[in-house]
Symmetry: C2
Subunit: 347 residues, 2 copies
């Protein structure tokens, strides 16, 4: 089976490019003595995570318990969940999962910590906990060093839990003063962080600028995407994930419609909504679920109905979540077809 | 099993509200002698489409061949695909599907028409074809009445195909002059449209203002969503689809984080990104894949970590595509659990 045999829209990964992406960040981490913990949210494919581990990564990160369950069932024994696990149904699942692999989970509130202690008691074994610190994007995470100390103490004093350290996202170099304030307060309270986990594809190659980091959780680096290119974090040639689409309509000289829309690509990211390799002057300017609107006014040669085009998506992780399989290409040959086993794990 | 037993995020549908939505539009269509052809893209659940048929709808619309395959396999015998089917792999699938149910497909180019004729020849039976006309959203569809006549003639002259009429989306009342120009040109050429298919939830209850319409394809009316409310097309009480989420973090007095983000809701639609029923003053102002950021500064009472909230999503169809199951609630009781069988059919 070759690339041109695939029906469209087809989610594909260029294996050579992906393998190079995996090697490159691993080499950087090895060189700087930073543990690389790939975040599987970008691909959601156990086989790819096994490639990352074989390249030298130690452990993985999963954002949801449902993803961790898939990866525990497919051979991973060191999983971090950098997310507050809250509510009885999930805590029961967590207790079961603790018997399957080594877990580290994050917490940013006493409410979360109490639930984790309950789960660990159910499992009959201690649970490693790290504190989520608020990063520059002001998402979850404790807001002040004082809160971090209070929480670390609560974890440390809970017999079912082991206080291991902290996590932050993203770990951009600009975050270092903020991170230091947290770490200093914890150390001063006699609760130094053994694990200092950073994250983010943009921050990845700057991790050595924050010597406090012991590990980084990075997802997108494995594929890269059009947003990564736009941010200057990679080159176009380092984008491994692509979607092959077909032009299904050419209503006017300046407009083409492709058979991939928001159901294929998501609506994530800004304009243009991805990049068409064969028509770099074209711009995807709108999407409905099954329609991608392409402005081809600046194209010297214009794509015809039936022509296939290759799109680098805006947001690789969102795309992986929308497809059941990804085709691994070696050149033009389909070398492997991977089911995206952890797709759609909203819980 | 009751509503509070569901783990979160949980996609639910209020069955009473949905049944009322189905009845209301069906009554309107029956009253005005317009055929209602529900578009299944909103729910992607065969059992719900069967409810729509039992209420009086005749036939369904599926946007992708992969959806039509699921619905043909689950008992539907009259399926319209208002989309250009292009490329050998899909045409082979189309030919097979023609043997399973009655199909009507749309075309807006000679290239598409030639492929449809090839598929019909493979199937050994004639295929009904309608012409897609460009609507006000300037998506696909033939651009001028002259092009429509040329295409209708090509369909009419192809021995494998049956020219049946036209489709347009959306069929807002403002589109009527445009639609009339197409219809008049076709009639003048001796190719009058027997089927005049309109569409769109916003346009649905205005269909009688376009007496030329013989049928409407409508999807969102079955669930409604926050966009429908914002457009004034329904009330808040008429929203049947909801997502139950849990507050997993309260980093500051004014910010709550819920466990549903763009992987649960999509990024479709504007701000606020959905509506929280229990906290109408709250605003979901940003989403990452697993995080919904909620501004609770205007809430008198503020949600605590662990509290469950009910969100009306921005875009019902996109949400259905992100979940494997939907829980049908009768009041607080889980009456049915439906697998979303046609989810993720990107091809």
């Amino acid at each position: 089976m070759r690339r041109d045999d695939l029906d469209t829209p087809a989610l594909v990964v260029d294996l050579d490019v992906m393998e190079d992406n995996i090697r490159r960040l691993q080499s950087y981490c090895d060189e700087h003595g930073i543990r690389l913990r790939p975040h599987i949210k970008t691909h959601k494919v156990p086989a790819i995570a096994h490639m990352q581990i074989r390249a030298g990564a130690r452990g993985i990160a999963c954002q949801k318990l449902g993803e961790a369950e898939v990866f525990a069932a497919t051979g991973f024994d060191d999983i971090q969940i950098p997310y507050n696990i809250v509510g009885r149904p999930k805590l029961e699942r967590l207790a079961r999962l603790m018997r399957q692999c080594h877990l580290t989970v994050a917490a940013d509130s006493l409410m979360t910590v109490r639930g984790l202690a309950w789960a660990a008691a159910q499992a009959g074994q201690p649970l490693d906990v790290i504190i989520e610190l608020e990063g520059d994007i002001e998402r979850a995470g404790v807001h002040t060093p004082e809160e971090a100390v209070t929480l670390a103490r609560a974890i440390d004093e809970a017999p079912e839990l082991r206080y291991r350290g902290v996590m932050i996202y993203p770990s951009n170099p600009e975050s270092r003063p903020r991170l230091r304030a947290f770490l200093d307060a914890l150390a001063a309270a006699g609760l130094p962080a053994e694990i200092v986990s950073g994250g983010g594809t943009g921050a990845a190659y700057h991790s050595h600028e924050i010597p406090e980091l012991t590990e980084i959780r990075v997802g997108t680096y494995v594929y890269n995407d059009w947003s990564t290119v736009k941010h200057g974090w990679c080159t176009l040639e380092q984008c491994a994930q692509k979607v092959i689409c077909t032009v299904v309509s050419r209503p006017t000289p300046d407009r083409a419609i492709i058979d991939g829309g928001s159901k294929t690509f998501s609506s994530d990211g800004g304009l243009p909504m991805g990049h068409i390799i064969e028509y770099p002057e074209a711009a995807i300017y709108r999407m409905n679920e099954e329609h991608g609107y392409v402005d081809i006014s600046r194209c010297a040669r214009k794509p015809e109905v039936g022509e296939r085009v290759t799109v680098i998506p805006n947001h690789a992780c969102a795309v992986s979540n929308l497809h059941d399989v990804i085709y691994g290409l070696r050149g033009d040959r389909v070398e492997v077809i991977w089911p995206i086993l952890a797709r759609g794990k909203v819980q």
